[in-house]
């Protein structure tokens, strides 16, 4: 599982590198900007850069199996003593690690720039944990859809699945956001003001981990029944 996860991260090194350029941009602003004057701009940019990673987790999760099947590299991997559910676990871990690298880099940069702007930095790391949990769940949902849909449809289905609880939370009741807590976790990041001691709510994080396991089981069930070899004849 770890081998597959690290292999996934290695294969995605260029998209991860591009993602890290955003973090570099934030670091650059921290170097050149008049931080005390640009506090609110920095915070806004930090939040924006932070939530992008959730979209990228959907991209990573939704395209992982498709890319491997299309390139036929999946055949050499699954011809070894690797069960399909182990393969999926490796991909989930790989997506989470890829997003985790980004969140770690962002956490470091955010701690430095936001700390210099006078924001409490302990909050930054809690928000990064929220983001990693959101990415893990969003990536797993995308991975589940990608076991039987092409990457675009999988991304669309994932957006729909994650978006419905958010719409329900806005129109029916706030607790709907916890059905699939990706929106709850990203809202936590977006609404964080840092000015007042934040409420460190771990419930959606735990729920995201639990739901990741549930979606992984569903994905494994579906994937075990899918023909992975494209007929070449």
């Amino acid at each position: 599982m770890l081998l597959i996860a690290f292999n996934f991260v290695r294969e995605q090194r260029w998209p991860i590198f591009v993602l890290l350029l955003w973090v570099l941009l934030l670091a650059f602003l921290g170097l050149v900007a008049d931080i005390p004057r640009m506090r609110e701009d920095l915070l806004f940019l930090f939040k924006q850069v932070a939530v992008y990673v959730v979209a990228f987790s959907i991209f990573f999760g939704g395209s992982a199996i498709y890319n491997e099947r299309k390139s036929r590299r999946i055949l050499a991997v699954l011809s070894k003593a690797v069960r399909r559910e182990q393969y999926l676990s490796g991909l989930v871990l790989g997506v989470t690690t890829a997003c985790g690298i980004y969140c770690f880099a962002l956490g470091l940069t955010g701690s430095w720039t936001l700390g210099a702007a006078g924001f409490p930095i302990s909050r930054v790391w809690f928000l990064m944990v929220c983001l990693v949990a959101a990415c893990m769940l969003a990536g797993t949902v995308a991975l589940m859809f990608s076991t039987f849909l092409n990457p675009f449809l999988a991304a669309g289905a994932t957006a729909l699945m994650l978006g419905v609880p958010w719409i329900a939370s806005q129109t029916v009741a706030a607790r709907w956001a916890y059905v699939i807590p990706v929106s709850a976790l990203t809202t936590t990041v977006l609404n964080s003001t840092f000015n007042v001691p934040g409420n460190t709510e771990w419930f959606p994080v735990c729920l995201a981990v639990l739901e990741t396991a549930v979606f992984w089981v569903i994905a494994a069930k579906i994937f075990s029944r899918v023909d992975i070899a494209v007929a070449v004849e």
Binding site: L3, R10, A76, L78, K80, D227, I228, E233
Partner: protein, 310 residues
């Protein structure tokens, strides 16, 4: 006494590809039965679209059969633990772009290999396939032939009991083909089973103990290679002491006259040789090439069977 399990066994395996939207149905395998014994080199032949790769992919667990079942090394198809003892080389090899020695270690580790043995084995198999000087090169920069050799190396990493090779020599030069042929022979001598799918009939003819020909998803010929190559219709009578012009179509070499005749007329021709004062040196069934056998059994080559609206 218990029967030794087959290395590979297909039991009435059928596979249909169905299109979700157009209700098309393509039958790639149709009640396919086959038993590959342990320790043999088995040639798996068939025209394009016959279902060879489908059968291999079902055995490897990449696909599920529509009906039927099969066993590999005594365990049902798709069993991950069994694949520890299987080496597989896919047609059109695709490997990750990284240093080939590290790549082999990665594939070996997926088969639960570890420790110092992993690196040693990677060096061994690179030597076997003649890539020892390329160990530090990125597989992404390999030519197709080198990639195929690297693919063969990854299949050999776990020292498999069963080696499934789908077109292993298609991109190789003649020297590399000889090397692969010797590799396959030495694997058999080491007690391994080799299941070889190939279009290179001369290769199959040279190394395979038994051959199966698949056509339109069905097994149309199965037997020992030597038996398949023997003609049941013609015989060659080698004689001495007769004139060449006494027999139509006779040829002479090394002082003997060879006459190829239908088996039905064999007795009469021999009688005539004796009447002319000649001597029969030998009577042999005419040996055909595997290509002739292949063309004979697949003469009505058409696309695979379909039903529904195509």
């Amino acid at each position: 006494m218990t029967e030794m399990p087959a290395a590979l066994e297909f039991d009435s395996v059928s596979k249909e590809y169905r299109s979700v939207f157009s209700r098309q149905c393509l039958r790639a395998l149709d009640g396919f039965d086959l038993r590959v014994e342990a320790g043999e080199i088995f040639g798996f032949l068939g025209p394009n679209g016959a279902g060879k790769s489908t059968a291999i992919h079902i055995a490897m667990g990449f696909m599920r059969p529509t009906s039927g079942q099969g066993h590999m090394l005594g365990r049902p198809f798709g069993d991950a633990w069994t694949r520890r003892h299987v080496g597989f080389l896919a047609e059109n090899v695709a490997l990750y772009h990284r240093r080939v020695d590290r790549l082999l270690c990665f594939y070996g580790a997926l088969n639960r290999m570890g420790g110092t043995r992993l690196g040693e084995r990677a060096r061994e198999v690179l030597q076997m396939v003649g890539l020892q000087d390329q160990a530090k090169r990125n597989a992404g920069k390999f030519s197709r032939g080198m990639l195929q050799r690297a693919g063969l190396a990854q299949a050999l990493m776990n020292d498999p009991k069963l080696l499934i090779l789908d077109e292993p020599t298609s991109a190789l030069d003649p020297l590399a083909r000889v090397m692969v042929r010797e590799l396959i022979r030495s694997a058999r001598e080491a007690g391994k089973t080799i299941f070889l799918s190939s279009h290179l009939l001369s290769e199959v003819e040279l190394i395979c103990d038994r051959v199966a020909v698949l056509h339109r998803g069905k097994l149309v010929r199965l037997g020992r290679t030597a038996d398949l190559l023997q003609s049941t219709e013609q015989t060659e009578i080698v004689t001495r002491g007769v004139a060449l012009q006494d027999f139509a179509g006779a040829v002479t070499h090394d002082g003997v006259v060879s006459i190829t005749v239908p088996i039905s007329t064999q007795r009469g021709v021999m009688q005539r040789v004796w009447e002319l004062g000649g001597e029969i040196v030998s009577v042999n069934p005419v040996r055909r090439s595997l290509e002739q056998v292949f063309l004979e059994v697949t003469a009505d080559s058409q696309p695979p069977q379909t039903d529904g609206r195509l």
